[in-house]
Amino acid sequence: MNLICLGLNHESAPVEVRENFSIPMEELGERSHALTGLTSVDEAVFISTCNRTEVYVATSDASLQNIEQEVKEKLGFDASYFYEFKAEEAIAHLCRVVSGLDSMVLGETEIFGQVKKAYQYAHEASATGGILNKLFQKSFGIGKRVRTETTIQSGQTSVGSVALDLAEKIFDDLKNSTVMVIGAGEMSRITVQSMILRGVKKVIVTNRSFENAQALADEVGGEAVRFDEWAKVMPEVDVVISSTGATEPVVKVSDIEPLRKKRKYRPLFLIDIAMPRDIEHAVGEIEEVYLYDLDTLQKQVEVGQAKRQQQVTECEKIIGDEVQKMGNQQRNNSE
């Protein structure tokens, strides 16, 4: 197969370099089509995500030298940042990308949709033909096989997703849950945003600086509460995400105990992602309180990542077998 893949990703190039090569989604088809204007290029598909920009080009020319030269010139190829795969190596690489094995978060699923979309744009722009159509369709099939036959996508890989899974275990549907954020820092923002995506009913933000609380509340569509008044809204709260810079505990047993009756002893999920910790350890001993700190969540992330890492060999084997099959088929066809 006269195929070549050129690209850069989060491992080969820093973000400032990746930014220069990034292509907006809506331009992918047009750019792929433009590449087929080169004399040696028959088919082309550009893929561009926040962590990678790659191009797959195919030619009927048995010698890849011309195509390589032309594409490199067109792209502004820089050997210090770009990688290059040819023929079966390029096929295996695409399969690894589609399966999430080449992603920053191992096994992530978003990449599958992104590659599919990039291929659709190129296809609609008539930049693909027999070789790339077959290759991409096959890679999607292999990607699906990898995900169904292994557990590469199981387990959580970020503190936010661990917290989210736990919240759903405790409250089932977050659509009926109210989340309170104590401290308007970055970690709180990321965690609460993932919960908003799952449709939490209400977000309350409190911070020593009321202006910062208001700013975060405006950003996430929540309500700001003054720092000395957070206990007043606690009866309606189900999840607390605390991430302040305080050196002394912010949430103490003496804050929660008097609220228990008002809350009718409903479960309360406390996520302490501050360092030093914001929530007194003894709060977790209250029967209906589930307290998780950063260390516990981080450990769970490591377990998730390790689980995915264990699956890599199995995934690579599936990809290797499939690529070999494709290679054999190709050789049989050409004989």
Partner: protein
């Protein structure tokens, strides 16, 4: 005839084993559990049907019959609760309970080897027995759900999120919701059962049995009242449900 009971016990036992294996192996939910429970339920129905013909009435006279009827009732409520909930883990937890009840019924002396037809059928008495045992089925399954919640609560408190059991257990509101729903259904049937009981012809021993039943009913009503009016820690509620169900079984000892 006894063979159908033995087969029912084996099938539900097998359903439990398959459920446990699926959880331990972190596999997707096993539909075999449900299938085997359906087969076991069929065998229980078959046995109860034959026994009913022999008794010429509701087969609820000896301890063995009560246990079989109770197992049938637990199985029935297991099928009635929601499908998503049923196929995940309730089967794994309730199948061994059903199996244990059926095996206990098979212990020599539990079942009357020569069941005689009931003379002078008292319809209030028949209703009392049938509806009360049905209520115990719901309460038993409520207790099973409470055990499931206690397991989940322990894992959440211990911050142990990696076991297959933790992943497969339904969320807290689902479990607590089931505990409450099944208890409310159980208390409703128990109320009807007791009302019928007070209308039937009662011996002195029967009176004691009825009073014990009424005491159990009162405890359940109190527990539900506290839950709905004042609120209660889910863990305490679940513990009470399990303990109360075990204690409530003593009602049958006063027969």
């Amino acid at each position: 005839m006894i063979l159908s009971l033995l087969i029912a016990a084996i099938l539900s036992g097998l359903a439990g084993v398959i459920g446990v294996r699926a959880v331990l192996a972190d596999q997707q939910r096993s539909r075999w559990t449900l299938f085997l429970m359906v087969l076991s339920f069929g065998c229980q129905m078959f046995w109860l049907g034959l026994r009913g013909e022999e008794r010429a009435g509701c087969p609820l006279l000896d301890n063995g019959e009560i246990l079989v009827f109770l197992a049938w009732s637990v199985s029935l409520f297991y099928f009635i609760v929601g499908s998503t909930y049923r196929v995940t883990l309730l089967g794994m937890f309730s199948a061994p309970v059903v199996s244990a009840m059926l095996l206990s019924a098979l212990i020599p002396g539990m079942l009357d080897t020569d069941p005689q037809p009931i003379q002078n059928v008292d319809y209030w008495g028949e209703m009392h027995s049938a509806v009360s045992v049905l209520s115990y089925g719901a309460l038993a399954l409520g207790a099973v759900s409470a055990v499931m919640f206690l397991v989940l609560d322990k894992r959440l408190k211990a911050q142990d999120m990696n076991s297959g059991l933790f992943k497969k257990l339904p969320a807290v509101p689902t479990l607590i919701g089931s505990v409450i729903r099944l208890t409310v259904i159980g208390v409703f049937f128990l109320t009807v059962g007791l009302a019928c009981g007070f209308k039937m012809q009662i011996s002195e021993a029967g009176k004691l049995h009825l009073y014990a039943g009424a005491f159990v009913w009162l405890l359940y009503v109190l527990l539900l009242g506290v839950w709905f009016v004042r609120g209660m820690v889910p863990r305490k509620m679940s513990l009470f449900m399990v303990v109360l169900f075990v204690v409530s079984l003593s009602v049958f000892a006063v027969l």
